[in-house]
Amino acid sequence: MIGKNSLFGPVDPAKEAGYEDHPPRKGFFTDTSICIGCKACEVACKEWNDVPDHGFDMLGSSYDNSHSLNADQWRHVAFIEQPRRTGDQEPGLRRPPVDLGMPTVAPNGNEVTLPDGTVGEKPDFRWLMSSDVCKHCTHAACLDVCPTGSLFRTEFGTVVVQDDICNGCGYCVPACPYGVIDRRKGDTDNGKAILNEGVAQKCTLCYDRLKADQKPACAQACPTESIQYGDVEELRERADRRVAQLHEAGIMDARLYGNDPNDGVGGTGAFFLLLDEPEVYGFPPDPVVTTKDLPHMFNRATAAALAMLAGAAISFLGRRG
């Protein structure tokens, strides 16, 4: 049954998927302000879900050697070094920043506008760390475009791939506004058989563990509770309180990402507290479900088809005249 908000806007995804009596929606609140970049989440995820290694290359991207979320990386910790002065050291030793003529977010690199309109100073050198994961969108385009029904909405409101149904068509890959879902590549060098080769892969929010009333592996392993698991509704309230607490402590950069049910994907099941603009962490600033305009497009296409038929008919009529 297609409802008004079935493809866009706030909705309860499990109910929308047809679960009459279902548990509260589950998700992650990842508080990046207390992430220490230990990567325990990456390791716990791989151990529990039998995800293979992703190669042994040093990327030179701070301490990130996992590259991105992909078929072999269902959790990914980003490391962002924001160079300013370190400590209170002699700033004269620094080379002056090169102006690339690009538009910047803040007019002055070291200033930030506070909610009350005053201008404060941004902190010194920062090393931001953030553990990324599938967002389990309220409106999940990957699921909408899946032709086999391999991707499905669980009773917990999460989105899961069924490995044995996926035919590897790959439609879901460009449909994801975050670039999360990915097909697993083979090991061409060794010709070794790889589990789920060619199949679309991503975080399942540990569906098997949820069914057994267990925390997902990453949240269980996180030492600082940067990754918090629970009912999305409760997590959203907790996140609001945390942002308020940080603002009170003068950390005005703190903001939430993905918590708003009115955003382009209807809010995400996995959302984040960030200390800078989403782009800094590699997140799209304003993601929109790629299937949002499907009804509109369908109407347009129908109208165009009708117009074309009408035109054709008219042209025939014209000839007679």
Binding site: C38, S62, T86, G87, D88, F125, M129, T224
Partner: protein, 876 residues
């Protein structure tokens, strides 16, 4: 802490959420700095200047917690008139003997006690046997009645000496020497002092890299002085916490894997000084001293009874003669050098990978390649088992696989989830581990290995009439075994460690029940109580939310389940909490006993007003306001007259390898350090020697979260190895520009010992510092890689030479000087000649070794404190 102890760091995060301010002092910006409120970078090896500067700030501004300092520390004690400070003698204390480079500590004693403790070992012997600190752990040999001036005005009282000693450690000096701005330094001073006092306490947390310096013990001492001055010891939220490098490192000192101590910190007997049981016990007990070591005889005899059971009787001194005795330096580095020299034939390595993890990797590998046999027990085939076929020395021709004489026995070990037993963590808490899985294949626990090894050796020797075999044959070596592999019972071992009454088998509840007549036995007196009432107390798992905030029913902490040592100091001299907010243990006048949230670390019914009768000694000699009950005088030691080889007060000495002259004294490095001058252990030159500019940069090493120490538990696992797949070297953008290093390209780091290559990581997390008027670059390397595993790479520890702290013989492996060159290092003979070329240019390729004593003429004094001629050349 976030980097190497991410799980423990959760509590810092929690404290932060509750308003705590976190300050991180480190040469480089790490994961910890990322979450700290304030990050202060400093030059490696200048910590005593930094902390000494804070001590000076406290003393100059009289910010010390005066009531605490007067009553609970030795600040009021008056020191001998003969004492001369480093301020007077250019970096040396009085009593220095330039021949042996050790001190006669007579002039360091408290007034009137200059010749006290005549049984003291000579410092030179103590340095060899790492036995000096026994005075510290066992309490100083001090008389109960010390001359004191509680107004702290006497010019020779400890407080005034401390004040003079640190007077030149000013914010300007800190900025000069450490490269820390005065603003950042003062911010730390203010934060620390404002958060200390009656209502507030500050914790000092360090990881054990802090100890790995030629002045390692004095680093910790500086922290201790500061925490005592500010009243942060023995109180909740205070203290000094040492984060250990592995699980149960605390346990491996309590029941030691060290050559100089026996279980429960009893000293290893010395062949010449402890010829009888009585001599040995008295060296611990120190007749006449105050404190709890008075019962050392019982502790020692119970240990001997645990070893030799029925054979140990009062008639044969409880088999004291069976104990192995030490004769000199048997430390790990001496042993490795002896292997190179062919003096050591066999070696056991258990869960240790010295080919990668110990300083001077080349010496480690060459030593192991010159043994008759080597036993390695580990989870994987680590480099210390494969050096004969894949060491870097194969390329240079120094090890030839076909000719390497060492027979290696690699035995697979069970992991921590495949065996039961205890871990003892940094709070001295024992936690019992259940076995989750049976080990696969031939993997076995350590307990299995040693029990059956002992059993088989004893079977081989059975019937021997040789006197030398008696200690082995008489051992009480009978533990119940179970399962198809005859696994010994770990609980039975824990029960023996706890101790029991021999006649009835009743487990002892406290070490006070230990008898010196042979009727009880116990393997480690401080662990007595862990099997109280026949219950494995270490296995308790009551959740924190179901008990008080001290959580006494989770695991078991020694001694006697006390969660905080010296907690008598959490109450004022009258026994009242210093403040409501910081109440922890206090005197209940009505009940006539000490009570509180924790088990009081004090005699339960000794009132605060108690004063010992004339001539009292041992426990009786402690006053009701002497909280530091293991110290010979019951006081916290701001000043240490006995027990430290390098001096009674921490003094800044430059690291053995430094590009800078000591800004405070002419004495450059620690004059008493242990050094092995050998052709295979060259040190880079430091001022005042010439050519230090050949190695212009400072390097330091530490860990990454992703790997575990020498990599034996991480480089062999795909899910960990992929997280940090290559050896790398962190440099600042400025150094990269200066040396032409390209981010993610290659570079190599060179010292007088080795050249090590890695990928370049150019990062703002490292910053050049301004020190003594010039810019200095610091380089950082992780030390996890070696030639084995899924991700191989050069080993950073190859860069270090061997020079040791004189007190405990720990190596200086956190600071050295180096050069950095772009590109990969050369291979084979070219590598050897590159390093040899550096040695030649640095002038360290001859048999002439630079003098260690660089203090000016007149710094060395005779017994009366008069200057004498210094045989070493004064510097210019």
């Amino acid at each position: 802490m976030a980097e190497a102890h991410p799980v423990g760091f959760q509590w810092v995060v929690e404290a932060k959420a509750r308003g705590a301010k976190v300050i991180h002092v480190d040469p480089r910006f790490t994961r910890t700095s990322a979450l700290a409120d304030t990050f202060v970078p400093l030059r490696v090896g200048t910590d005593i200047v930094f902390l000494g500067g804070i001590i000076n700030y406290v003393l100059q501004n009289e910010l010390d917690f005066r009531d605490y300092v007067v009553h609970y520390t030795n600040a009021a004690n008056i020191v001998s008139d003969d004492y001369r400070d480093t301020e007077d003698l250019d970096g040396l204390f009085s009593g220095f003997d330039p021949e042996t480079r050790t001190y006669d500590p007579a002039s360091w004693q408290f007034a009137g006690q200059e010749r006290n403790g005549s049984d003291r070992q000579h410092h030179a012997t103590q340095r060899e046997t790492a036995s000096a600190l026994q005075h510290e752990t066992h309490g100083m040999s001090l008389h109960a009645d010390q001359p004191r001036d509680e107004t702290l005005q006497h010019p020779n009282c400890v407080y005034q000496i401390l004040k003079r000693h640190y007077a030149r450690y000013t914010p300007e000096t800190v900025a000069e020497a450490c490269g820390v701005s005065q603003e950042a330094f003062l911010e730390v001073c203010e934060a620390w002092t404002k958060n200390s006092g009656r209502d507030r306490t500050t914790a000092l947390v360090y990881s054990v890299g802090w100890t790995q310096h030629s002045v390692g013990v004095q680093y910790i001492r500086t922290g201790a002085i500061l925490q005592l001055l500010l009243g942060n010891m023995g109180r909740p939220g205070g203290g000094i916490m040492a984060l250990r490098g592995h699980a149960s490192i605390q346990g491996s000192t309590d029941i030691p894997t060290l050559f100089n101590i026996l279980p429960g910190y009893l000293p290893m007997p010395h062949a010449e000084q402890h010829t009888t049981l009585e001599e040995w016990v008295d060296s611990v007990r120190k007749p006449g001293a105050k404190g709890f070591w008075a019962k050392a005889g019982a502790y020692g005899i119970n240990l001997l009874k645990a070893y030799w059971g029925d054979v140990a009787t009062a008639e044969n001194d409880f088999c004291f003669d069976y104990l192995p005795k030490i004769t000199g330096d048997h430390g790990t580095y001496r042993t490795v050098l002896d292997m190179i020299d062919g003096k050591v034939k066999g070696y056991f390595l258990l869960g240790q990978n010295p080919a990668v993890g110990s300083a001077h990797g080349r010496a480690q590998r060459l030593g192991m390649a010159n043994l008759d046999w080597l036993v390695v027990r580990d989870l994987f085939e680590i480099e210390s088992a494969t050096f004969w076929k894949n060491a870097p020395e194969i390329e240079t021709g120094e090890i030839v696989p076909e000719e390497c004489r060492t027979e290696v026995f690699l035995l697979p070990a069970a992991s921590h989830v495949e065996k039961e037993g205890t871990f003892t963590q940094t709070q001295r808490m024992l936690q019992w581990r259940e076995k989750a899985l049976d080990p696969v294949g031939d993997c076995r626990s350590e307990l299995w290995f040693f029990y059956h090894l002992g059993r088989m050796v004893r079977e081989r020797l059975a019937g021997s009439t040789e006197e030398r075999d008696r200690p082995l044959l008489d051992l009480a070596w009978d533990y119940p075994v179970h399962g198809e592999h005859d696994e010994p019972s770990a609980e039975a071992v824990l029960k023996e460690i706890n101790g029991y009454d021999i006649a009835t088998g009743r487990p002892l509840s406290t070490f006070n029940e230990m008898k010196d007549d042979g009727s009880t036995l116990g393997g480690c007196w401080i662990y007595t109580g862990v099997f109280k009432d026949g219950v494995n107390q270490a296995a308790r798992r009551k959740p924190g939310k179901d008990q008080s905030w001290v959580a006494p029913e989770w695991g078991w902490a020694w001694p006697a389940n006390r969660r905080m040592l010296y907690n008598r100091a959490s109450a004022d001299p009258e026994g009242r909490p210093w403040s409501e907010r910081k109440a922890y243990v206090w005197w209940d006048e009505e009940a006539g006993e000490w009570t509180g949230h924790d088990v009081p670390d004090f005699e339960k019914t000794k009132p605060p007003s108690y004063r010992p009768p004339e001539g009292a000694e041992g426990v009786e000699g402690l006053s009701g306001d002497d909280p530091f009950i293991m110290q010979g005088d019951g006081k916290g030691a701001l000043y240490v007259p006995q027990g430290l080889i390098d001096g009674p007060l921490p003094t800044h000495y430059e690291p053995v390898e430094s590009p800078f002259r000591n800004p405070l004294y002419k004495q450059q490095g620690n004059p008493t350090r242990k050094q092995y001058d050998r052709a295979d252990n060259r040190m880079n030159p430091s001022p005042p020697e010439e050519h230090s500019e050949v190695f212009p940069f400072i390097f330091t090493t530490s860990r990454l979260t992703e790997h575990h120490t020498a990599g034996g538990m991480s480089r062999y696992l795909e899910h960990l190895a992929e997280l940090q797949p290559e050896m790398f070297v962190e440099v600042s953008p400025e150094l990269a520009a200066e040396r032409g290093l390209e981010h993610n390209g290659w570079c190599h780091v060179v010292t007088a010992r080795a050249a090590v290559e890695g990928r370049v990581m150019v990062t703002d997390r490292l910053t050049p510092l301004r020190v003594e008027g010039r810019t200095v670059h610091q380089v950082w390397l992780p030390y996890h890689w070696g030639s084995g595993g899924m991700v191989a790479g050069d080993s950073a520890n190859d860069l270090f030479g061997i020079s040791l702290d004189p007190n405990v013989l720990i190596q200086e492996s956190k600071v050295g000087t180096c050069d950095v060159l772009p590109g990969r290092r050369p291979r084979g003979a070219e590598l050897t000649s590159l390093v040899a070329g550096y040695r030649h240019r640095a002038g360290v390729d001859t048999d002439v070794y630079p003098p260690i004593v660089t203090a000016g003429a007149g710094a060395v004094t005779d017994d009366e404190g008069n200057p004498t001629d210094n045989p070493s050349e004064a510097d210019t």
